[in-house]
Amino acid sequence: MYVIEANNVGKRFKDTVALHRINLKLAKGETIILLGPNGAGKSTLLKILSGLYKTSKGTVKVFGHQLPKDAEKIRDSVSFLGENYSLYDDLTVRKNLEFFGILYDLDEKHMKRRIEQLLARFDATQYIDREVGELSRGTKQKVAICRALLSEPKLLLLDEPSAFLDPVASRILHMELNELSRKGVSIVYATQRLDELYKIGNKTLLLRKGRQIAYGNVDKIINKLRDVEVEIITAKPISDAVLRKFGKRWKVRYGDSNKAVIFSLKKINDIPKVVKEVVNSKCEIVSVLYLKESIDKILSGA
């Protein structure tokens, strides 16, 4: 039995088609990345899978239960983290987490232990008795992730959870999700960040304007990607001469400074070649980033 079976799912809000004929299947322990730009329908699909929204067309089964009819039967096993923190600003981190823990019927001792463990994992223990309203966006997001993980769900529905997280916290999140996946937790992870495909997904569903553009294993989808923009940041400025040299082989331009160069590539497989050439030019690479803005192009070319 699949954890999620969605067949020809459609969703309409008055005159707007938010989703059109989406199909996906997710087995136990699998992670699927919903990849798409703003307005692609990722959040709507997550809300349908959590039982919050009804479908306008098609059928959705989660743990074998038909949604939204049997939504109450799955809520114990599912945890949904929306695009907002969904935390109460006037309550402390502890009170926020305890509030949700009780609604998931967690044993009090276990809940308290789990809250401490999760906050420690995301390096947020020091905020436990602070009101959420006083916290930074990144810390709020960490607490929101802790909330989503608190009930030890069998299915995690996450809407851009790495938004506002610093690179260290993002890495912890990815490690935590990979660990959960190994333990049999199924995950649906919506993102606009292409790099997250490599870090957590087994499967991916590419969405654009509510339509399914591609669906399948991550490797297969990645090979289909076209027109990728990669930003390489170096320790020292790159001279015009070096940039011209790169320009002979690739389409390049400076990024925000002369320590950042943006390469427009035809294929995603070209990235290792670019990195090799930059290294060969005696430039010390600090980081390699996919540019978020390029996702529209990627999806239209996929």
Binding site: L52, F80, S86, D90, L91, K95, Y104, D105
Partner: protein, 264 residues
């Protein structure tokens, strides 16, 4: 229904409401002001008002009670005023107090962007509704009882000091007290229903005020001489309020829709 879920939701709402002085300040301050100032003012009028004004007020009071004005003494005036005129004002306390928190119940979750997380928890529709209702009901009724007692004590103090008589407790006072939870429940039920179907707190407050207006008239029935505020009137009113609060809660539950609540 899971009692733990209900208490958890209610306690969370109460913690949120009482974390801000801008919410609990007026909610407690205004009734308290009326409980202290109004009785003192009544005694002041009865003692120091000029004969013309007092005769006029006594005339109106006597007319309302169907007797001639000379049958009313000054002490009768304060009694009449305390029970028939001010009593109903205090009957509106549960309505006013409940409106503040109830309007925030669901609309506030949406405005603070916490609705999706709450709606995706295992809490059932009935647990959510009952929890939210309870969060408004507890302070509304609690405050009403406290204010009624303070009002009665202060009125008694002034009337004892001025005329050597006590006014409270009496059967009408008890019945008003008994009515207040049901009055609060009907009001809260209506406002929670509205709050779950609007975009924000402001909209919830505006629509709620309109809906609550007919309920606000009930306490003033005796003031306008439509009926006498006695045991049987208040008993009938209580039965009506029990039925209407049950009906409102039933309707709220029947029409509660998580998607509509989030999308609205």
């Amino acid at each position: 229904m899971n009692r733990k879920h209900i208490i958890d939701i209610a306690m969370k709402d109460l913690r949120e409401a009482f974390s801000s002085i801008s919410i609990w300040g007026p909610m407690i301050g205004i009734p308290l002001f009326f409980a202290i100032v109004l009785p003192a003012f009544t005694v002041y009028i009865s003692k120091y008002a000029g004969p013309a004004l007092l005769t006029q007020i006594l005339g109106v009071a006597a007319q309302t009670r169907g007797i001639s004005s000379y049958e009313l003494a000054k002490s009768d005036f304060i009694k009449f005023f305390a029970i028939n005129i001010l009593g109903p004002i205090f009957l509106t306390m549960p309505i006013i107090t409940a409106t503040v928190i109830a309007a925030d119940s669901f609309a506030g979750e949406k405005e603070r962007k916490t609705a999706e997380a709450l709606m995706s928890t295992p809490a059932t529709d009935s647990e959510l509704l009952v929890g939210k209702t309870l969060a408004s009901f507890i302070p509304a009724v609690g405050l009403t009882v406290v204010i009624f007692v303070i009002y009665a004590l202060i009125t008694n103090y002034f009337s004892m000091a001025s005329y050597g008589v006590t006014i409270f407790p009496n059967i009408v006072w008890y019945m008003m007290l008994v009515n207040s939870p049901f009055l609060a429940l009907t009001t809260i039920g209506l406002i929670v229903l509205v709050s779950s179907r609007v975009k924000n707190i402001k909209e919830a407050q505006q629509i709620s005020s309109l809906l609550v207006l007919p309920i606000l008239v009930i306490p003033f029935i005796s003031v306008f001489n439509i009926a006498t505020l006695n045991f049987w009137f208040l008993f009938d009113m209580m039965i009506c309020l029990i039925i209407s609060s049950a009906f409102v809660l039933y309707i709220s539950l029947k029409f509660f829709d998580r998607e509509r609540f989030i999308v609205a």
